[in-house]
Amino acid sequence: MENSELNEISNFLIKHPPFDELEPEQLAGLSQQVEVAYYRAGAEILKLSDPIQDLYVIRSGAVEMYKRDGELYNRLTQGEVFGHSGLLMNRRVRLPAVALEDTLLYCIPAQLFHKLFDENDYFADFFDLDGGAQLRQAISANTDSNDLSTVKVKNLQLRDVVTVSKNTSVRDAAVVMTEEMISSVLVTDPDLPVPDDPEDDDGQVVGIITDQDLRTRLLAADLPATTAVKDVMTTDLIVIDENTYVFEVVLKMLRQNVHHLPIVHRRKPVGVVSLSDILLHESQSSILFVRGIFSQQSVDELITYAEQLPAVFLRQVKEDANSHMIGSAMSVIGRCFKQRLLELAENELGPPPVKYCLLALGSMARNEQLIITDQDNALILDEAYNPEQHEDYFIKLATFLTDGLNACGYSYCSGDIMASNGQWRKTLSEWKALFDSWFEQPSPKALLHSSIFFDLDGVAGHTRWADELKRHIARKAKDNPRFLAAMARNALNRTPPLAFFKGFVVEKDGEHKNSINLKRRGTAPLTDVIRVHALAIGSRSLNSFERIDDIIAADILPPGKARDLSDALEYIAMVRIIHQAEDIEAGRKPDNNIEPESLSSFEKRNLKEAFQVLSNAQNFLKFRYTGGHRPGQANNRRQ
């Protein structure tokens, strides 16, 4: 065998993307075209603007790539590839490369690279554009459309197929339907041969029998319950392919005047869709779900209603909503639960003695709430508030709210940042004074647990006070370098798990058995970084994506950097969301952890890219707001 002679090369390539999905003959051909080159540590491999002839695969060693301005762009190690951006753009080196360690490279001639690029979609997708653009592409593949008419019938939560044999008595069939709680059952003929070709397998289904058939063809015709189902079933089966859009199914049901349609994969029934399945699906749309919150008449009803929340979340994910849409919908739903609970509380406790405003803090205020979240809230009370007269009422109101939320799945805040904590019930002037103390004596320590207060929004009651507080914060935070430095310092506390992906030089032999918390190591620190920039420019937006729009408009970041931030946030958030949706579907408790081994190489690559953006953004934050001075020094200079 020709290729087995070069198995040292092909065995290596097949372990590393994008070569892992090449056809055997492509791989064999590729191995034969490889040229090998050795670079000692420190040697220049690629020089900016030189012509580039090859795609490089690192066989051993480590390589550093630099940007035009000399800033480190990336560090690559065994199995990683470089040079493609130059090959795809203008055949000139775009990112100079230097051997960080003694490095052995496999060089794949440009001609062959382009040939594989044209022949193999996976190979092409892997390289298609670079850096942010690659991430952006990964995101856009996720966010095609959220139009209801694009939901396919296979995405409905269907029941498994239940069948009875054609000779079963109608009575036994009715027992099966009752036990399974279904209104129709498929009828099979076990005597029919099973076709050899799975494409032709129709599951031996010969008919369907429904509640309606039992009524019209059995009872009304005065037939005995011992009648075989084959004598009363409907035989001219109308089936629909699983890829049919839901709206087409509805049209078909209306036109044929049927309420049950078997769904087939190729020809084999995989489920039955009934009109009620479609109604249930519609009721899980977030808009209808929100409307329903306000018709729940008691806390117990609300708690039962909240059990549908995972299904509503799941549906949004399946409809390919992006993280901004999902975060907004889940936040709106969360707000409605709060509003409805306060209405129910006031019904029970009577009208409030003084006006109040309920504040949402953190992810709900930013419209970035997901399925698992704890409650973070606080109250602004009227200046006329008098603890002796009024405190009792607000303790009861707040406790009613926080207990209700907890029962509905919004668990208590572990840091006790809740309206039920007297510390977080203040008049507007008291709130302003608290914020002023943070602005005037900022220290990273004092601000460590208060970043959540800089994402606040009015949810219920006198929400104008919340707007006034937001205005106050935006005005005071802007142009306050000491405060921004302290916030920036805190935003650097949580670092991205680059080592997981980087195969970083010192860790190349290490095993990474731990999982990554995508919230703590990803979306949360990104949100922190974005918040500091937003506060620095006096933005009053709360949502991270809207804050990024403000940051772009203020032009405070180098070109493209703000867009990179939003791409990275979107990507990590979507991986987190999809992971949670998978947990829900599998009946597991959704969480924020993900095991790197469970990711595809494509996801790994994009996640790594996104974490790299975060890391770069943190470095920039440090450089821009902390300026290399300790807060104490800045303090002295100002006074």
């Binding site: 002679e5 040292e8 490889v34 090998v36 050795y38 000692r40 066989r59 360690e101 003694d102 052995l104």
Partner: protein, 236 residues
């Protein structure tokens, strides 16, 4: 590193003489291909890494079972031009040698004899400097088989990566090491490669060893020689 010019042969000139003396047409043809001049910088020299797998070390007692070679330069190893032959020994192989090479009786059953690939082998080596790890083996085996086939000796311009490694290690050895007669360190191909952070390859496969030798020379030159070092400093 200090050059060893005293040993040096002007192979270009030598080949002209050898061509005139050779009786065998295959050898005449091999010697007629032009070699680089002795002052040619290493960076411009055409090289070919060669490895023979044999049933033992003694060329009189042992047989060649496979031959691997790959052309290269100091910058690139050209895998597309590799050659690999399994050849049929004249005597049956022992079980021990089968264990080492993984080449079995059935592999060699249908293989050509060494004589049958001899001319192709010379063609692949022609006009290039042969690079081997431990030249005595390849030189002796090829010369012995050439004598048997043509009745004449075979002379090859060779760069020996083992010799380069020995010089590099000796150059690094301090006076104290010499006084204490500390051992030099292993010169085996795999161990030499490790010093340059080259990856571990499957050993005792003629083509893989040839590729490994080519990579080793690239690494040794990157560490110990300037690119404009003339070939005469290294070939013997």
């Amino acid at each position: 590193m200090r050059s060893q010019r005293n040993q040096s042969v002007d192979w270009q000139q030598q080949f002209q003489i050898l061509q005139a003396q050779a009786e065998d047409a295959r050898l005449r043809s091999y010697y007629s291909e032009e070699l680089p001049e002795q002052t040619t910088p290493l960076a411009d020299a055409p090289l070919v890494a060669l490895d023979l797998e044999t049933t033992g070390l003694d060329p009189d007692q042992s047989e060649i079972v496979s031959i691997g070679l790959v052309p290269f330069s100091t910058q690139r190893v050209y895998l597309r031009d590799y050659r690999h032959w399994v050849v049929k020994p004249r005597k049956p192989m022992s079980e021990d040698s089968i264990l080492i090479h993984g080449i079995t009786h059935s592999d060699v059953e249908s293989a050509p004899s060494f004589d049958a690939v001899f001319e192709q082998l010379l063609g692949a080596l022609a006009s290039k400097i042969v690079v081997v790890h431990c030249r005595s083996i390849e030189q002796e085996f090829l010369n012995r088989r050439c004598l048997q086939i043509t009745g004449e000796t075979l002379k090859l311009p060779i760069i020996d990566t083992m010799e380069i490694e020995r010089r590099a290690l000796e150059g690094r050895r301090g006076a104290l090491d010499k006084l204490l007669r500390r051992p030099l360190g292993s010169l085996r191909l795999a161990d030499a490669r490790k010093r340059y952070s080259l990856p571990a390859y499957q050993a005792h496969h003629a083509l893989t060893d040839a590729i490994a030798t080519a990579e080793l020379l690239q690494a040794q030159l990157a560490y110990h020689y300037r690119p404009d070092t003339p070939v005469r400093d290294l070939w013997v």
